[in-house]
Symmetry: C2
Subunit: 679 residues, 2 copies
């Protein structure tokens, strides 16, 4: 084991090195590439580097870089990134070096920025390293040509030369956090501390999950009462209408809640301007808002890609999924007919074939579609991270919605077999939830445990063979922590199972939202047929919060903290689902046996029209509620208005000041010319 220290001389006066971000190279990465990357990271910013500190660990298998940074460069970057901290007047303000002593906790520069913030800054600085004019290709990787201004680190990650890049956990904070979070079963989640540790996006997911779980309590109660208490047509009707209106109230109040959280976290969307994501490419040109140089990609090209390719491909996939389902039902009928004709072992085996083939097909389709969706979304080249995320969400939601519900729709409205629907719903909801919790939490945890044991054993072996460990700035503990956390699965946005050669199944908040979304669908789309769905969902979510929290803390690598403006496209996806729920519930209620009996009394057409009128009224009520309930609490609105007003005043004051200066200069000039004349 060999250790090399690079970057800024090693004078003893400097604070001890803290490893913020770990970069693990793939075993195939050449020494040339590695030292080129190290060089880029440690070079001062003025020469196109990132001005960070690197410690190198070389084992027989891989090279690992521990990246740290001086407080000086961290503060500089924090100011540029406009990171907000608590000001002494209680407000959140963007960090300013000149004004540092007016911020809370600014006495101790080591702890002024949290570890998560420091890691974020280092990530941002790494992402900001761009190829210089002289970098024609990655040294040691002749097949990787570069162009000026290309982002380097994301490219190397993308090409697999950097195997992983992740921030280290803070064991002490994690311990206290996890204690309050998932070890105390009945207390509220410490959302603000989650935000500080894991960042806005993760905290927002857990806030949503918690809020949604609370919102499930009334439908669960009423559902159980209407199912077991006094089962009657009227109680089912009341339950359905309540559910539909409740869904809207829940989503609207959540919006307010979300505004409160993002305001508190200083990430509420206030301006039209957002920075481009690092993967965004295009010709360098001046941004018309900020006047800075930045890549620019023509909007019409993106629209053309979207409407010309992505949309048709997605629709084709949806149609494909629908068609495969039809074939499944048809071949099941066929197998049944064959079985009735020739009752044999073969026929009995054939009876199970359609379901098995269908299950396998769905699995493959899902994996292929996810890869495709990610590729298409990358290819569309969205400028903003939020736009990128939203487009990805819409693509995945459409497909998963089709896959999950089209079968139930077929049973409910084509076969009109309510019994089958009920049993299918129960099976899907309950088994999927239990399986889901096992697959997403238990399995990765067990696998990680296994890997951890082998690492510990190995490092013990290394020790026992007596190999000399050089006195490093990175302690043995941290090195071991990096190795252990490196063996965990990364927590990223999209789960692409079918990437060949990669065995890890990364998961992220996107999948967690998707799970909740489909559950929301099960609960609200078919309330009329399966009123206890809310109860099952409630029970599931109560443990889901804890297993998801456990997963975040124990199973996955720590994610980089990201600020959030809300749940983005999910808000719309949930709202649309609640609208679809009106249609399905009205149709289901119309198809109940008692309803159909009533339809004979008043005439079928009148009966249908009655339900259409009811549907329209419910939709109207939902729309009105959504319109009436303000999206932001009054105090957030006032606070935002105040900021906007102050900014406007500052802008006017600046203009006035410059006008005054111009006037003064002109007068001076006049005096000067007069002086000259007098002379």
């Amino acid at each position: 084991m060999e250790t090399v220290e690079t970057g800024g001389g090693g004078s003893d006066a400097r604070p001890p090195f803290t490893s913020l971000v770990v970069i693990e190279f793939s075993s195939s990465a050449s020494q040339q590439t590695i030292s080129w990357v190290k060089d880029k990271i440690t070079t001062p910013k003025s020469s196109g580097g990132a001005d960070l500190i690197v410690q190198t660990m070389t084992t027989e298998k891989t090279v690992v870089l521990h990246v740290g940074a001086s407080n000086e460069s961290l503060l500089n970057a924090a100011e540029l990134m406009e990171i907000k901290k608590l000001y002494k007047d209680g407000s959140l303000r963007e960090v300013q070096r000149d004004d540092l002593d007016q911020f809370e906790n600014s006495q101790d520069l080591d702890s002024f920025l949290t570890l998560a913030e420091k890691q974020c800054i280092v990530k941002h600085e790494l992402d900001a390293i761009r190829a210089a004019e002289t970098d024609r290709c990655v040294p040691g990787e002749m097949k990787l040509p570069l162009y000026k201004g290309q982002t380097l680190i994301p490219l190397l990650v993308d090409k697999g030369i950097i195997a992983q890049l992740f921030p280290l956990h803070d064991k002490r904070s994690l311990k206290t956090l996890s204690f309050d979070w998932y070890q105390s079963f009945f207390s509220a989640q410490p959302i603000d501390r989650i935000q500080q540790y894991f960042g806005g996006t993760v905290a927002m997911y857990f806030a949503f999950l918690g809020f949604y779980t609370m919102a499930l309590i009334p439908p669960a109660l009423i559902g159980v009462i209407s199912e077991y208490g006094a089962p009657s047509e009227l109680s089912t009707l009341f339950f359905c209408v309540f559910n539909l209106v409740w869904a809207t109230i829940f989503l609207e109040v959540w919006k307010r809640n979300c505004a409160t959280l993002t305001y508190k976290w200083g990430s509420i969307r206030t301006e039209h301007y957002e920075e481009a994501r690092p993967q965004y490419y295009g010709e360098l040109s001046r941004n018309r808002v900020t006047g800075r140089l930045e890549p620019k990609y023509p909007k019409w090209k993106r629209l053309l890609k979207f409407y010309g390719v992505s949309l048709p491909v997605v629709l084709l996939c949806l149609f494909g999924a629908f068609y495969i389902m039809l074939v499944y039902f048809w071949s099941e009928d066929l197998a049944l007919a064959y079985h009735k004709e020739h009752d044999s072992t073969l026929s009995r085996v054939l009876l199970y074939m359609p379901t098995i083939v269908y299950a396998v097909l769905i699995f493959i389709m899902n994996a292929v579609y996810r890869t495709l969706a990610k590729l298409l979304n990358d290819w569309e080249n969205h400028r903003l991270q939020s736009a990128y995320d939203n487009h990805l969400v819409v693509k995945l939601v459409l497909f998963d919605f089709t896959n999950c519900f089209i079968c139930l729709f077929y049973i409910a409205f084509y076969l009109r077999d309510m019994k089958l629907l009920r049993s299918n719903m129960a099976a899907l909801l309950i088994t999927q939830q239990i399986l889901g919790q096992i697959i997403e939490s238990l399995v990765p945890y067990l696998m990680y445990k296994k890997r951890k044991i082998s690492i510990t054993k190995r490092s013990n072996e290394v020790k026992s063979t007596g190999n000399a460990v050089i006195d490093l700035k990175v302690t043995a503990d941290v090195r071991k922590q990096a190795e252990i956390e490196g063996s965990r699965d990364p927590f990223v946005e999209v789960d692409v199972i079918l990437e060949l050669g990669k065995t890890k199944a990364p998961r992220g908040t996107l999948d967690d939202y998707l799970e909740m979304y489909l559950q929301f669908g099960y609960v609200f789309l078919f309330s009329a047929v399966f009123p206890t769905a809310a109860l099952w969902a409630l029970i599931n979510n109560f443990t889901e919060i804890r297993t998801d929290a456990f997963k975040m803390c124990r199973t996955f690598q720590r994610p980089f903290a990201q600020p959030t403006t809300g749940i983005g496209a999910w808000q719309i996806a949930f709202e649309l689902m609640s609208v679809v729920a009106v249609l399905t519930n009205c149709a289901l209620l119309a198809l109940t046996p008692q309803g159909l009996k009533y339809s004979e009394d008043i005439g079928e057409v009148n009966y249908v029209i009655l339900f259409i009128i009811a549907e329209h009224i419910i939709l109207f009520v939902k729309l009105t509620l959504a319109y009436i309930i303000p999206d932001e609490p009054q105090w957030v609105e006032t606070a935002l208005a105040q900021t906007a007003y102050n900014s406007k005043l500052a802008w006017r004051a600046q203009q006035m000041e410059s006008a005054r200066r111009r006037k003064a200069e002109k007068e001076e000039l006049l005096i000067d010319t007069r002086d000259i004349k007098q002379e």
Copy 2:
């Protein structure tokens, strides 16, 4: 005739007096009140006045004040009101006295502000006069107690002590404007010049009217083709679907157009903060956004008033209108039955009675409802002018919609008599439009002409009797103009016919919008039955633009120019109408004889379900279109983002500057203490 000059001494060096606003007292106003008002207007601002100039004209009947202002006070007020003018770099900026030479046309202070702007400023200053501590009641009107901070001029107008208050026309500008506007029949409207002369709200109405008229061309063409070209079920179907989708496209593109106009006019809504309207009352307290003192009325009180009183009252009125219609249909049946039984003169008279009674009832109800709506709206005490306007629009729209369309709905969907519907539609659309144009344009114009002739005769008589006319700052021409324009009807927002004792029927853009709104309803709600409606509407609007323009220029008093942020609640009203149109058209198509024949083939229930699916698809397409089409053109969005970004930068710079100053002060203090120590 006696003339008195008040305010600022009459030195000859001052520019000639221009009459900007005319205040006409009622004949019952006491001399004491008048001189108190004059005093308030001319007193300097520091002493609670408006710092304006007044010229008094006393005739045997009334007292008329001509209010003017010095360029000095106009500019001061313009700066406070944040009036935007063209800056030399081509952008619009708020007027700043220190920076005046950087604005276009600022050399000549007399013409730097347009007449409309000056009139607006004077109006604003008059409205801003508030009762002082010592003003316990209006002198000469002991029954009018005052409280500190109450606005005076709106109160006096409200109580009828000031009979009218209006700005004078600019005869020369008006001539060239009217020439380009309504005298050249086929050219586009000079919207920007209308905005400069009549203000944003009026120009916005005409821009909307013009845009809407253009948008009627495709439906008119296709409607005529589908009616006379190749009348078939399919062509009607196509026409209906086209109409419904077209309505959404029209409304979305209009939104973009509207954003472009308001951006150009510098009145686009950018900040959350707006100033309270002068009629807003409440306890004086500090506004949390601006920190200024302003009346504050608790939000819950307003909500309580709205949901507790206004909403129930409005719903009751709607129900009343519906009930009266039912009684009308029922009594018509009764009369018919009676006529069949006893065919006599009495029975023939009775046959007409229901219609006559119904028409009279509608007229009375309408007048009562309008008065009620205005009273309720005033009573709700909205803080913002926009909120006030929107609530008034919603109240009137609901009632007029019910009155106009419930009868047609009844015929279409209860009686299902398409022939009756068609003839009713044609009668309503065509007669109402022709009658409308006559009532709203010709009648007021003729009445005004009559009054004008009598005034001219009278003033000639005055001249011929040889009464001495003192040499005034207000020329005889202007005095005559004021008298003539004073005899015109004022152009205000709401038309309240039933105000006892007042014979004038004021009209404003609100009524013009309402007319277009009902027309939009006729064209789009029943396209399936009456496809030529768009053509009739097109023809009407083509002349409507001209008659409305004529009305603005020749028949009504000049309105005060008001900035606008768009068409406000009308956008939503039109969008809702286009949604209702989907329902009605689908239902009408389903009720066609050919359709009903087809329903026998596929079964009635399937037939109804088919139409429901079609309806939902069209609604979905409309929703998607509305979501996809951006509300603002790209360049407006960029420009707004730029402003927001610059403001943010200015705000940061200001904070940094103050931080630097604080630091410098602290250091100075340190040096001082060191100095002291050394001493």
